[in-house]
């Protein structure tokens, strides 16, 4: 199990939430939910799929970075600069950013203390060599989570892994 743990690096991800004075994407552009994909370093702008046509403030996902150079580049920035850059790049798509932006928050998972990363990053080679061992009960230790699943990074993987771990544990207790 130790060898299996050491064989899986943790991939990074960055999300940046931006708060605006109004839901200009709905009011001005008739954008109701969904995602703008872009080759700008922010990669995506995701619009809220709830609360349509509400007056007052709105929050959107101003950047979503994973699996590529930009995720590292945004992780390496001070948090305030991540937000500044997300506003700067996003304003080239929605000029309303400049007048309507209020504040934001940026999360870079490699900097989140309790995980130091977003999700298990399995190579095909590591998976064929170590995955079965990682999911075994080793002494008093059994692991569960997205990293111990076939669906890394997804909640579904984490839940399936927990069900699998509980089943294995139950089987072992019943048999002993």
């Amino acid at each position: 199990m130790k060898a299996a743990i050491e064989a899986v690096p943790y991939s990074g991800a960055v999300k940046i939430g931006l708060q605006f004075k109004r839901r200009f994407w709905e009011e001005d552009e008739a954008i109701y939910g969904g995602i703008t994909y872009t080759d700008l370093p922010i990669r995506q702008i995701a619009y809220p799929n709830t609360g349509f046509n509400r007056t007052g403030r709105g929050v959107l996902l101003g950047a979503y970075l994973f699996d590529g150079a930009n995720s590292y580049e945004f992780t390496a920035m001070p948090p305030a600069e991540r937000i500044e850059r997300a506003v700067e790049f996003g304003a080239t798509i929605h000029p309303q950013y400049r007048g309507e932006f209020e504040n934001g928050v940026a999360v870079a998972w490699h900097r989140v203390p309790f995980t130091l990363g977003c999700s298990g990053d399995w190579s095909d080679e590591a998976r064929s060599q170590h995955y079965r061992n990682l999911c075994q009960i080793d002494g008093r230790i059994v692991l569960a989570g997205e990293h111990a699943s076939a669906l890394p990074a997804w909640q579904e993987g984490a839940i399936l892994s927990s069900l699998d771990a509980v089943s294995r544990l139950h089987e072992r207790v019943v048999k002993s």
Binding site: P41, A69, N70, A76, E84, T92, R98, P113
Partner: protein, 123 residues
Amino acid sequence: MLALCSEAALTQDSTKGRTFSSGYAFVEMSGEELFANVCAGCHMPDAMGATGAGNYPPLAQDRDLQVARYPVDIVVNGRRAMPPFGDMMNDDQIAAVVNYVRTHFGNDYRDAVTASDVKAMRR
């Protein structure tokens, strides 16, 4: 504060000189810039590392950097929680960032790594 960003200025932002890559691989070429835009995300801008659920080891005053093959291998192939960068940086970039770290942050190892040294470490 919010600078206009023209198409031409995308990779080299004039306001703060920050470089952004356009695809999966990094476009930064100098060791200094690669360290600041990539390594510093975890090892921190002062190379002192950090601690959370696990440890990001410091690279400052790091005796493990004495034999250049060791950091080259880790950058190319990854180690434990650290992702491999062999597919995201070419041989020149990896040589540049290893040479930068080995001559900064209280490290003074003058035997520079070359791109062909990096190539030899690719598995």
